[in-house]
Symmetry: C2
Subunit: 333 residues, 2 copies
């Protein structure tokens, strides 16, 4: 093979905001599959907020990326060569193939994609980890009941957009919080939420109050910070907070945290942090539901697509500050 592999590696650990200098692009030979391995040509790379955590060596649920190591991440690709019994050239696959053009795999954690008329990139978003995160966080942890009000922050993001649509499927009022009128328009008009509050408009408290006339029963928190504190003011007794992410904190050197914890007490709120990888038993059913609902048009999604591996760092940094709409992917080929 005359092609060279391109890889993006972690050059240094960011202490606050991520910059392009935290990454380095390197060339390497395209590897040959060994016994029980196969070689994948990545077609789409997924960019997700959790990757910010892997750049840090603070204690976490997963090991950090090593300095000089290839950035972790899911990708969809095509099997080019295989010495693995269950994967053959031409198979479309999704797995943790990393920020690179070519990857070797032993098949662990890799799923084959049937691709029934759904674009391949969707298997990184709505029918992938973000979709399952929405599904398990909202349904298993949030336990929404028909007629209740579900609020989700980062509502136009890969997870948030699915949360609101699942809430609608379950008979709830779905209210999004997103940054800017364009995102809010998409959340309501394309994704079908009942309302969306633009937190950048400077009227968060008043607009949120208007959007949740019966208070909030489930707050799916992707952002934490000021937005979470404002939602806490509207939470109903015995409400639930699936705590999925705190993207507002990721770029700060010191955390701001939650101030309105009194609401957690007086409203007897259950706040539960969760990681979708703890719930592997729930993935197959979630993915089957999501794939069916996407194919039926009941769940819609948006993507922001960057072109070329070299643009992955800039796209990642943009996503952390909310520049994307929907799932952020990088088209590699």
């Amino acid at each position: 093979m005359t092609e060279r592999n391109l890889q993006i590696v972690l050059a240094r650990r960011p202490t606050a905001a991520v910059t392009e200098e935290d990454f380095r692009i390197v060339e390497a030979p395209v590897p040959e599959p060994g016994e029980s391995q196969f070689l994948v040509r990545n077609l789409y790379l997924s960019l997700d907020p959790y990757m910010r955590g892997r750049m840090s060596d603070a204690k976490s649920y997963a090991k950090p990326v090593e300095l000089g190591g290839v950035m972790v991440g899911a990708a969809v690709g095509e099997v080019l060569a295989s010495r693995h019994a269950k994967f053959k050239p031409g198979d479309k696959v999704e797995g943790a193939f990393g920020w690179q053009l070519y990857a070797l795999s032993d098949g662990k954690g890799v799923r084959k994609i049937a691709g029934r008329g759904v674009p391949l990139s969707a298997y990184l978003g709505v029918i992938g980890m973000p979709g399952v995160t929405a599904y398990i966080g909202l349904l298993d942890i949030g336990q929404p009941k028909p007629g209740e009000t579900v609020v989700v922050s980062a509502a136009s993001g890969a997870v948030g957009g699915v949360v609101g649509q699942l809430a609608k499927i379950k008979g709830c009022r779905a209210v999004g919080i997103a940054g800017g009128p364009q995102k809010c328009r998409i959340v309501v008009e394309e994704l079908g939420f009942d309302a969306c509050v633009d937190y950048k408009a400077g009227r968060l408290a008043a607009d949120l109050e208007g959007a949740v006339p019966k208070g909030v029963d489930v707050y799916f928190d992707n952002v934490s910070g000021e937005i979470a504190d404002e939602v806490l003011r509207r939470m109903n007794p015995f409400s639930r907070i699936p705590f999925c992410g705190s993207i507002s904190e990721y770029q700060r050197p010191e955390p701001r945290g939650l101030r309105n914890i009194r609401s957690l007490l007086v409203n007897r709120i259950k706040l539960q942090g969760f990681i979708v990888w703890d719930h592997l038993n729930g993935w197959p059913a979630a993915l089957a539901d999501l794939e069916r609902w996407v194919a039926e048009g009941r769940i819609k999604y948006r993507e922001t697509i960057a072109e070329g591996l070299r643009n992955a760092p800039a796209a990642f940094i943009g996503m952390l500050s909310g520049k994307n709409v929907g799932k952020q992917v990088v088209k590699l080929a």
Copy 2:
């Protein structure tokens, strides 16, 4: 009857620290029981942190005390006169009789005290609401398993002291956090905790680390603030936080909140605010267990006793700043 009733009423709503000027003492006639009522002479008045919440008119789970209204609170007393079928003169009773010498009751929420060799005041603490709070919060919400580590703040208080002793009964390591060497000595030597960290000693992080070599599986939070953030650093994956109170916030005009919420996420912590009055079905079993364990000497308790109704405001203010050890009561007769 020639006696006069003395009552302590709410004179104004505190905005931050409570002061004696927020209360006023008034005289009133001793009331006569009407149809299906009885008259109680209060013997001991309970002082509890939740009362700070009732002085405020911020939205909460219970109505605030009205300006000019008698301060709410539990008391134990003796029935003096009765037109109620189930209570007769001489009965010892516990109920929400308020900060006053005499109270009328219709019997709702009042329990008769058998007093099997246990002092009457204990029915306001270890065999009362604080004991049940510890029992339900630790056992139902915290779900401790043998061999796990349970940490409780305000460990020498009425609730905290019971939490640690219940943790020991359940086969856990019990670690308290309390203010000052005297309280810590009582927590370990009298109440039988495995360790106690003095947060006033200026070495909270190091001392806590030494006290929880296997991390923290249940943190029973009575205080919130800096102490909770430090405990959050030591929480194990899938640990639980029964969130019972945030006494460190009660006296601040603006909340500090929780900063280390990242731990809630990466450790998949379940934090649940709870109010013991939501769990009335669990009270009889809890009180029966607690009464038996106290009688058997398996659960010990401390009290701080103020003398006379006129001293209740000062005792209450002292309790909010941690001057009491164990249950704070006021002896009225």
